[in-house]
C-alpha cells in the first residue's frame, strides 16, 4: 500500500533523458501578451493556413497527437502518468492525491501574494515546508479552495502532475510574519511586508463562525523552478521536449477535464516546469497549477455568466452579438436559478464539452481530435459516482445541499462527456484490446457511455471471411503464426460504426497485441 502511494506520488518519468540544467525562465505570469497573442494573432494565423479550412471541410485529416505509442496511448512521461484509467485507485488513494501531510501550525509568512485575485501569502509551516496559501474570498468559504483541492486530486488521479493541496482552517494567532518577509506593492515593486499587509489578507478572507479562515494550502513543488511550459511550441532547451505541446495528447485532452470541472483558468501561466533529479537522471517535470477558478468560482467572486462559453476576448462572439442586434441570445446568458456561495454558478444544463471555452484560447485545446476526445472521455468515465463523492469529501460545503448539487452536476457533466466522445461516429467505441486464452477481447466503451447498439460486432481479418459476433470477442485460429490485422466495427444506432484496427503479432512465440489505431 505504502509502496503504491509512493509510486503514485513520485510519478516515474519513463524514457526521459538526463539533461543539462535548462536556462532559467521568468516565473512572472505575463498573460497579457500570451492572451493577446493566442486570441488574436494565433487565430489569424490559423485562418491563413489552408490546412485549417481543409480540415474544417473534412478534406484534410485531423492532425493526431504526436506522442502516442503503437496502441495509441501516450506513454508514461514527465508530463503524464496513467493512474486511475489504468488501475482503479481506492477512495483513500484518490483522496490522498500527490500526498501531503496536513500543514502544521504555527506558520511564518515569508512572502506576500502579488498575483491573482484571492488574498494569500507564502508561508513556512512548523515542519519547515514551504506553502502557497490562498484564502477563500470574504463571505464565500470554499469558493476557490474547493476547486484547488478537488480538481487537483481529480487531475492527479487522471495522470497529470499537480502540486499537493489541502483545505485548511487558519487561525490568525498561529501565523506570524518573518522579519525578512517581502511583498510587492501595487506597482509590483518589492518592499518589506508589514503586519498591516497581513491584516489586510485576513480582512479579505472568508471566516468561519469560530474565527478561523478558510484557505487552500499548496505544497511547494520539488526541484528548480524553470517557468511555465505553455501550450504552444516546444522548449528548445529541453532535449526531452520533442513534441509540440499543442500536439500532446494529454494537453489536448485537458480540454475535456477542464470543461468537466469548468476550470477556465487553463492558460500557459498556470503551468510549471521543475528541473528535478530522480533515479540518477535530471530532467524537467511538467506541472499544472491553480485550479481555483473551477466549478462556478471566478476566484474572488462567482464566475460571470460568460466564462466557460467565451474567451476573455472572443471576436467571433462579439461580432455575432453585435451584428445580430442582440437577437441571438446566448444560452449561457440565462443565469442559473440558484447558486451556492461556495460553488458559484455550476449547472449541468447548456454544457457542451466540445464548445466549452477557457478564459484564454488554448492551442492544445483547439487541436483536440475525436481520438483525443475519446481518450479523455474514457479516463473521465473511469471516475465512478462513488469516486467523485470521495473527492468531494475533501471540499468545504457549508450550505446545505451544495455538495449534493456539485456531485449531481459532475455526474451529469461526466455522462454528457461520455455520450459525446464514447458514442462518437468519428471514432470506434471499442478499446482496450487484450488476448485472453487465445481470444482477442475488446472492451465496448460505448456501453459505458450509454450509446445505442452494442449488440453485434463485425470482424474483418486478412485472409479470412468476415464474421459477426454478439460479444466483442474473437477466437484466434489455433495455428496462429505470423501477423494478422483485424478490423472490428460495432453496430450503432443505424449503421456500423468506425473500425478499430488491431494488429496481432508473435512475440517470443506467443501472439500479442502489437498495435492499434482508430
Amino acid at each position: 500500500m505504502l509502496l503504491g502511494l509512493l509510486l503514485l506520488a513520485a510519478a516515474p518519468a519513463a524514457g526521459e533523458l538526463d539533461i543539462a540544467d535548462p536556462a532559467p525562465r521568468s516565473d512572472d505570469d505575463l498573460f497579457w501578451s500570451d492572451g493577446a497573442y493566442l486570441m488574436s494573432v494565433y487565430q489569424i494565423e490559423k485562418g491563413l493556413n489552408p490546412a485549417y479550412w481543409l480540415k474544417r471541410l473534412g478534406a484534410w485529416p485531423p492532425t493526431e497527437a504526436g506522442n502516442l505509442d503503437a496502441l495509441g496511448e501516450p506513454p508514461d512521461s514527465s508530463w503524464f502518468v496513467g493512474r486511475h484509467g489504468r488501475r482503479r485507485l481506492s477512495a483513500a488513494e484518490l483522496a490522498r492525491g500527490p500526498g501531503m501531510e496536513p500543514p502544521a501550525f504555527p506558520w511564518i509568512v515569508e512572502k506576500g501574494k502579488s498575483t491573482g485575485e484571492n488574498p494569500g501569502f507564502v508561508a513556512r509551516d512548523a515542519l519547515g515546508r514551504r506553502l502557497f496559501v490562498k484564502f477563500d474570498p470574504l463571505g464565500r468559504p470554499g469558493l476557490s479552495s474547493n476547486g484547488e483541492v478537488i480538481v487537483s486530486r481529480l487531475l492527479h488521479a487522471a495522470g497529470y502532475n499537480v502540486p499537493a493541496v489541502d483545505h485548511v482552517w487558519v487561525d490568525s494567532a498561529a501565523v506570524s510574519l518573518s522579519s525578512k518577509a517581502v511583498t510587492r506593492d501595487r506597482y509590483l515593486r518589492k518592499r518589506p511586508m508589514t503586519p498591516a499587509d497581513l491584516e489586510a489578507v485576513f480582512a479579505a478572507a472568508a471566516r468561519s463562525p469560530d474565527g478561523r479562515f478558510s484557505a487552500a494550502a499548496s505544497l511547494a513543488l520539488p526541484g528548480k523552478p524553470k517557468g511555465p511550459f505553455g501550450y504552444l511550441g516546444r522548449r528548445r532547451d529541453d532535449p526531452n521536449d520533442v513534441v509540440h505541446h499543442e500536439d500532446r495528447r494529454e494537453l489536448r485532452a485537458l480540454q475535456i477535464f477542464s470543461a468537466w470541472v469548468n476550470n477556465t483558468d487553463t492558460r500557459g501561466g498556470n503551468t510549471h516546469d521543475a528541473y528535478i533529479e530522480e533515479d540518477g537522471r535530471r530532467f524537467l517535470r511538467h506541472y499544472l497549477l491553480d485550479f481555483s477558478a473551477s466549478f462556478g468560482s471566478g476566484n474572488a467572486e462567482p464566475k460571470p455568466y460568460y466564462e466557460g462559453h467565451e474567451y476573455a476576448f472572443d471576436p467571433a462572439i462579439v461580432a455575432a452579438s453585435w451584428l445580430t442586434l442582440g437577437l441571438w441570445v446566448k444560452p449561457w446568458e440565462k443565469t442559473p436559478a440558484h447558486e451556492y456561495p461556495e460553488l458559484g454558478p455550476f449547472p449541468s444544463g447548456h454544457f457542451d464539452p466540445e464548445r466549452w471555452k477557457p478564459a484564454f484560447a488554448n492551442p492544445a485545446f483547439q487541436r483536440l481530435t475525436p481520438a483525443d476526445g475519446f481518450w479523455a472521455a474514457r479516463l473521465a468515465a473511469a471516475f465512478t459516482d462513488a469516486d467523485l463523492d470521495a473527492l468531494l469529501s475533501l471540499g468545504h460545503f457549508p450550505t446545505p445541499g451544495s455538495r449534493e448539487h456539485l456531485l449531481r452536476a459532475l455526474i451529469e457533466r461526466r455522462d454528457i462527456i461520455a455520450r459525446r466522445w464514447l458514442c462518437s461516429r468519428e471514432v470506434s467505441s471499442l478499446d482496450e484490446p487484450r488476448l485472453d486464452s487465445g481470444r482477442l477481447v475488446l472492451a465496448d466503451l460505448g456501453k459505458r457511455g450509454g450509446c445505442a447498439g452494442g449488440t453485434r460486432y463485425r470482424w474483418e481479418r486478412t485472409g479470412a471471411p468476415g464474421l459477426v459476433t454478439t460479444r466483442p470477442e474473437l477466437d484466434l485460429p489455433p495455428d496462429f503464426s505470423g501477423a494478422v490485422r483485424v478490423r472490428i466495427r460495432r453496430d450503432g444506432e443505424r449503421r456500423w460504426g468506425r473500425a478499430l484496427k488491431v494488429s496481432i503479432e508473435l512475440f517470443d512465440g506467443r501472439p500479442a497485441v502489437a498495435g492499434m489505431s482508430r
Binding site: L30, W32, A36, Y37, L48, T63, L188, S321, G326
Partner: protein, 397 residues
C-alpha cells in the same frame, strides 16, 4: 523579405518552436507566421507594461488619493462641428463628510471655452444643498434663422448664421429626498452678453436679446424621481425630472417662465441584459407678462442626446419636444451596442406642432461603462441633413 522572415524564425520563440518534422500543415502555416514579425515588438511592449504595472500606474493617474474619492477624468467630445477636450476634477468626500464637488473645463479650438463648478452635500443625505456655476464663451456659435426671425423647425442648413456669446450662470439649490423622489427649490442668476460671431452672417434683426448684455435672476422648483436599480447597466426602472423656473431681467423687457419635463423608462426585454430605453422630453419658454424670453435661453434639441446626428445648436426655439427610443444590447463584458431613433421639433408656438414637421434621426452606437462609472460612447447619427459621428467620454454622475 525571406531573410527577414528567417531571421524572425530564429529570434521568435513561437517561430523557433516549429522545428521537428516540417509537415505539410506546418509548411502551409509559414505565410501566416509572417504576422509574428509585427507582433514581436507588441508582445514585448505588453510584457513590459504588465511587469511594470503600467496599467495600474495609468489608472492611478486619474486619482489623487488611495481611497479614490478624488481624481480627474478627461472630458472629450467630437461632434463634427468641433472637437472639445478638457478635464473634470472631482471629489466625492470633501471635508471628510461625503460632500461632493467637481470642476470641469473644456475647450474647443480657440472659439469655445466651457467651465463649470458644482458643490453638493452627501449623495445619500436626506437634505442636500448645492451650488452650480457654469461659464461658457463661444465666438462662433451656430445660429439657424430666417428673416422674421424664424428659429425653429422650418430653418434649413443654409440658414446658418453665427453669433458670439459669453454666459455666466449660477444656481443655488436645496433639496429633500423622499424615497426615490428628490424635491428641491433653487435660485438662479444668469449674465449673458451676445454679439456678432467671428464667421458668417450674424443673426437677423429682431432676435430677442441679441447684441445685448443681460442680467437675469429668478428661481424655481425641481422634482427628480429615480427608480433605476443598480449602477452599472440600467436595465429597468424609471427616471423623471420636472422643473419650473422663472427669470427676469432688470431692464423690464426680458423675462421668462420655463417648464421642463424629461422622462426615461428602461423596459427590460425578455432576453437578459437587453433593454429598450424610451425617452420623452418637453421644454417650453413663455414670456413673463409683457416681457419676452431672450433667444439664448431657448432650449436646444441637439444637447443631452435628444436629437442625435444633427449639427450643434441646429434647432433652437421657445418650445422643444423630442421622443427617443434606444435599444441596448450587450456585446462584450462592459460594452453595450445600441440603436437609436430620435425625433423632435423646435417650435415657436403650439400651433406649429405637427408630427410631419418633426425631424428624425437614427443610428448605431457603442457604449462602454467601466466599474468606476467612466462612460465612453460613440455613435453615428443619420438624418435627412446628413450624418454625424459623435464620441464622448466622461464620468457618469
Amino acid at each position: 523579405m525571406l531573410r527577414l522572415f528567417l531571421a524572425s524564425a530564429l529570434l521568435l520563440p513561437e517561430c523557433a518552436a516549429a522545428a521537428p518534422g516540417p509537415s505539410a500543415e506546418r509548411i502551409l502555416a509559414l505565410p501566416g507566421r509572417l504576422l509574428e514579425l509585427p507582433w514581436w515588438p507588441i508582445s514585448r511592449a505588453l510584457d513590459f507594461a504588465q511587469s511594470h504595472a503600467l496599467f495600474e500606474r495609468l489608472e492611478d493617474l486619474f486619482y489623487f488619493n488611495e481611497g479614490r474619492t478624488a481624481g480627474w477624468f478627461p472630458n472629450m467630445s467630437s461632434t463634427g462641428s468641433g472637437e472639445g477636450a478638457g478635464i473634470l476634477v472631482f471629489h466625492d468626500d470633501l471635508f471628510g463628510k461625503g460632500h461632493q464637488g467637481d470642476a470641469a473645463f473644456t475647450m474647443s479650438g480657440a472659439k469655445q471655452v466651457f467651465a463649470s463648478l458644482r458643490l453638493a452635500g452627501p449623495s445619500g443625505a436626506q437634505r442636500r444643498t448645492g451650488v452650480a456655476v457654469d461659464y461658457a464663451r463661444d465666438d462662433d456659435a451656430e445660429f439657424y434663422a430666417r428673416a422674421g426671425p424664424r428659429l425653429g423647425w422650418d430653418t434649413g442648413l443654409s440658414d446658418r448664421r453665427s453669433h458670439a456669446a459669453t454666459r455666466l450662470r449660477a444656481r443655488l439649490w436645496r433639496e429633500r429626498r423622499l424615497g426615490s423622489l428628490r424635491a428641491g427649490l433653487f435660485g438662479a442668476a444668469d449674465s449673458v452678453a451676445t454679439g456678432a460671431g467671428v464667421a458668417g452672417l450674424e443673426p437677423p434683426p429682431g432676435v430677442m436679446g441679441f447684441s445685448r448684455r443681460l442680467e437675469l435672476g429668478g428661481g424655481g422648483l425641481r422634482l427628480d424621481w429615480d427608480a433605476v436599480p443598480g449602477k452599472e447597466r440600467a436595465v429597468r426602472g424609471t427616471r423623471l425630472a420636472a422643473e419650473f423656473e422663472a427669470q427676469a431681467a432688470g431692464d423690464g423687457e426680458h423675462g421668462y417662465a420655463r417648464h421642463f419635463v424629461d422622462g426615461r423608462v428602461f423596459v427590460p426585454l425578455p432576453a437578459p441584459r437587453r433593454v429598450l430605453t424610451l425617452r420623452g422630453y418637453w421644454e417650453r419658454l413663455h414670456g413673463l407678462g409683457s416681457r419676452r424670453a431672450p433667444f439664448f435661453a431657448y432650449p436646444v434639441l441637439d444637447s443631452d442626446n435628444r436629437l442625435r446626428g444633427f449639427s450643434r445648436l441646429r434647432f433652437r426655439a421657445p418650445g422643444a419636444a423630442a421622443l427617443s427610443a434606444e435599444y441596448r444590447y450587450p456585446v462584450w463584458i462592459h460594452w453595450d451596442a445600441f440603436y437609436f431613433i430620435d425625433a423632435g421639433q423646435s417650435y415657436a408656438s403650439e400651433s406649429e406642432l405637427r408630427l410631419t414637421r418633426w425631424s428624425a434621426g437614427h443610428g448605431p452606437g457603442l457604449r462602454f461603462l467601466s466599474e468606476e462609472q467612466l462612460l465612453l460612447t460613440a455613435h453615428v447619427g443619420f438624418n435627412a441633413e446628413g450624418s454625424r459621428f459623435e464620441l464622448a467620454m466622461g464620468k457618469v454622475f
